[in-house]
C-alpha cells in the first residue's frame, strides 16, 4: 500500500496496518487481501459480486474489518456482502469506504450489506465514509444496509460521514422479530455543494421489538441533506427516531418523518430539531474565553461526537 492508501485505510477503519484477525480489504474494485479465522469465515460469492461472512454460533468478543478504498478516478464499484451471525455470537464488524479522488472523473462505491442475526446474537457494526482528494471528480458513496434480526438479537449500528463526500444516498432497511432490538446512530457533516440523503425504513414485526434511531447532522456551506424515516409498528413494540440538525451558512436540511402504528400497543415517536447554533450557547462559550469560531467548532464537535 502506498501512503495515500494507508492514510485512507486509517481514516476508514482506524487501522494502521493489516490486522491479524478476520479481514477483507477491497481496493479499487477488487478484494486484494482476505483472511478468515476459525470463528469467522469469509467466502467469495459464486457470482463474484461480493463475499459471504459466517460467524459461528457462540463466538464472543471477536471482530472483523472490511474496509474499502478507492484511489482511482472514473471507477464505479458495486459490491454485495452478506453477513450471517450465528446464535448467541457477540461480535464487532468495522466496515466503511474511503475514496481519494485527485482526477476530474467521478468515483463511486455502492456497498450493499445484508445482515442476518440469529437468535440471541449481538452485533456492533461501525461504518465510516470518507471522501478526499483535490480533483474535480465527485466522490460518490451509496451504502445500502439490510438488517434481519431474529428473536432476542441485538444490533447497534454507527454510521459516520464527515465532509468530503460529494454525494451520498444511504438506505437502511430493517425487520425485527420478537424481543429484537436495533440502535442506529448516524453522524453526518456536509459542506460546500455536497448532498447527503438518508432513508430509514424499520418494520417492527415482533412483540417487544424496539428500535432507536438517532441522527445528528451538521450542514455547512451550500450543502443539502435529506432525512427520511419510516417506522412501522406491527406488534407490541417501541420505536423512536430523533433527528437533530445544525445549519450553518447557506445549507439546507429536510426531515421527512413517517410513523405507522398498525397495532394498538405500538409506541412510535419521532422528534426532529433543525436550526442554527443557539446564540446563548455561543455567548456562554465566549464568556469562557473562546472566539465565536472556536465556540462553533466546540459545539459541533460535542454535538457529533460528544
Amino acid at each position: 500500500m502506498n501512503k495515500i492508501e494507508q492514510a485512507l485505510l486509517e481514516k476508514v477503519s482506524n487501522l494502521h496496518k493489516i490486522p491479524s484477525g478476520a479481514f477483507s480489504l477491497r481496493s479499487n474494485g477488487k478484494v486484494v487481501k482476505s483472511s478468515s479465522t476459525e470463528d469467522i469465515e469469509i467466502v467469495p460469492k459464486q457470482d463474484g459480486s461480493g463475499v459471504d461472512v459466517f460467524v459461528k454460533p457462540n463466538v464472543k468478543n471477536k471482530s472483523l474489518h472490511m474496509p474499502v478504498i478507492i484511489t482511482m478516478g472514473g471507477l464505479k464499484d458495486i459490491v454485495y456482502n452478506s453477513f450471517y451471525i450465528g446464535e448467541n455470537a457477540d461480535v464487532t464488524i468495522i466496515a466503511g469506504c474511503g475514496i481519494h479522488n485527485s482526477t476530474c472523473n467521478s468515483s463511486q462505491h455502492d456497498g450493499v450489506h445484508t445482515f442476518h442475526l440469529e437468535k440471541g446474537s449481538k452485533l456492533k457494526y461501525i461504518e465510516s465514509h470518507v471522501g478526499e482528494g483535490d480533483g474535480k471528480g465527485d466522490k460518490v458513496l451509496n451504502p445500502v444496509t439490510n438488517i434481519y434480526l431474529a428473536e432476542n438479537s441485538f444490533m447497534e449500528m454507527e454510521t459516520i460521514q464527515i465532509e468530503g463526500v460529494s454525494s451520498a444516498i444511504r438506505k437502511t432497511f430493517a425487520q425485527l422479530t420478537n424481543d429484537a432490538k436495533l440502535i442506529i446512530n448516524e453522524k453526518l457533516m456536509t459542506n460546500k455543494q455536497e448532498k447527503a440523503k438518508t432513508e430509514f425504513k424499520v418494520e417492527l414485526l415482533g412483540e417487544n421489538s424496539s428500535v432507536e434511531v438517532v441522527s445528528r447532522s451538521v450542514a455547512k456551506g451550500k450543502s443539502y441533506q435529506e432525512f427520511k424515516s419510516n417506522l412501522i409498528g406491527q406488534g407490541v413494540c417501541f420505536g423512536k427516531v430523533e433527528c437533530d440538525g445544525i445549519l450553518l451558512d447557506h445549507a439546507r436540511i429536510v426531515s421527512v418523518p413517517k410513523i405507522d402504528a398498525k397495532n394498538l400497543n405500538a409506541t412510535l415517536i419521532h422528534e426532529a430539531t433543525i436550526g442554527k447554533i443557539a446564540g446563548e450557547e455561543l455567548v456562554k462559550l465566549m464568556t469562557l474565553g473562546l472566539s465565536k469560531q472556536e465556540a462553533e467548532e466546540l459545539i459541533i464537535k460535542g454535538f457529533l461526537f460528544g
Binding site: 437533530d244 446563548e280 456562554k284 465566549m286 473562546l290 459545539i299 464537535k301 460535542g302 460528544g306
Partner: protein, 237 residues
C-alpha cells in the same frame, strides 16, 4: 479596577424607546464584593451583561484596569480576566461537564483539580464529569456547575447573576462561603437575598435604571425595609 462612566441603555419596545439604565456611574475596587440589588426590572442583569460585553451600552464607557473596553467583545473581556455566571445556565447537546470545565480553565485538567472545583459546589466530580451538560441535569445541578466554571476560571472580576436562584438543597452558607473564598478577585453579584447582601463590602441599590444608593449592607437594607413598610402602609415610594 472597573469603572462605569455615564452608562445609558435603551431598547425599543412596542415602537417606543425605553430607558433601561440611566446615567450609571460606578467604580469597583480590587478584591471586594459588590452586590447589586433592587426591584425586578430595575436593570440589574442588564448592567452585568453590559460589563461582560453581552450587551453594548447606548452611550457611556466601560473602563477595566485603566483600559476603555466598551468596544471589546465578550471573549476579549473574558481573556482579560472577566468571568460570568448566568442566571439561567446554558445547556448543550453533547458537550460534557468535563469539556466545559476544561474550556473554563483554558487547559485540560486532571481529576484532582476538577474535583476541587466541583466539590466546592457540593458535587462529586466522578459522578458528573462524563455527563452531558443538558436538560437531564436538574436546575440546581446546572446552577452549581455554572458556579464551578467561574471557580475554574480563576478570574480577576467575577460576575454572578442571581447565583442563589434554584440552588436547591445546597445551603446558602456554602454559596456565601464561595464568595468569601474568592478574595483575590473582585466579585459583582446580582441578588435579592439578604444573606448574599450580607457578604457585600458595598451594596448598590438600583431603581428604575438609576443608582438609588450605594453603601454598606446595613445602610442599604435599612432603606429597603423602610420602603417596604411605606408600601405596606399604602404610602408612596
Amino acid at each position: 479596577m472597573l469603572k462605569l462612566e455615564n452608562i445609558n441603555y435603551f431598547i425599543m419596545q412596542n415602537g417606543k424607546k425605553k430607558h433601561i439604565l440611566k446615567d450609571v456611574n460606578l467604580s469597583f475596587d480590587e478584591n471586594k464584593i459588590y452586590v447589586i440589588t433592587g426591584p425586578n426590572g430595575s436593570g440589574k442583569s442588564t448592567l452585568l451583561k453590559l460589563i461582560m460585553g453581552i450587551l453594548q451600552p447606548s452611550s457611556g464607557k466601560v473602563v477595566f484596569n485603566g483600559k476603555d473596553i466598551t468596544n471589546l467583545n465578550i471573549n476579549e473581556r473574558a481573556n482579560m480576566g472577566m468571568s460570568y455566571a448566568f442566571q439561567q445556565p446554558v445547556t448543550f447537546k453533547g458537550l460534557k461537564v468535563e469539556d466545559l470545565m476544561n474550556t473554563a480553565s483554558g487547559k485540560k485538567n486532571d481529576l484532582t483539580s476538577l474535583c476541587s472545583h466541583l466539590s466546592m459546589v457540593g458535587l462529586c466530580a466522578r459522578d458528573y464529569l462524563n455527563r452531558p451538560l443538558d436538560s437531564k441535569l436538574s436546575g440546581g445541578e446546572l446552577k452549581r456547575i455554572e458556579l464551578a466554571m467561574v471557580l475554574a476560571r480563576k478570574g480577576k472580576l467575577n460576575l454572578f447573576d442571581e447565583p442563589e436562584a434554584g440552588i436547591d438543597l445546597w445551603s446558602f452558607e456554602n454559596l456565601t462561603s464561595i464568595f468569601k473564598s474568592l478574595k483575590s478577585a473582585t466579585n459583582i453579584i446580582v441578588s435579592h437575598q439578604n444573606r448574599v447582601l450580607e457578604t457585600a463590602d458595598e451594596v448598590i441599590l438600583l431603581k428604575q435604571g438609576k443608582v438609588e444608593m450605594l453603601g454598606g449592607f446595613e445602610v442599604v437594607s435599612k432603606l429597603i425595609s423602610q420602603e417596604k413598610c411605606t408600601k405596606l402602609r399604602g404610602g408612596h415610594e
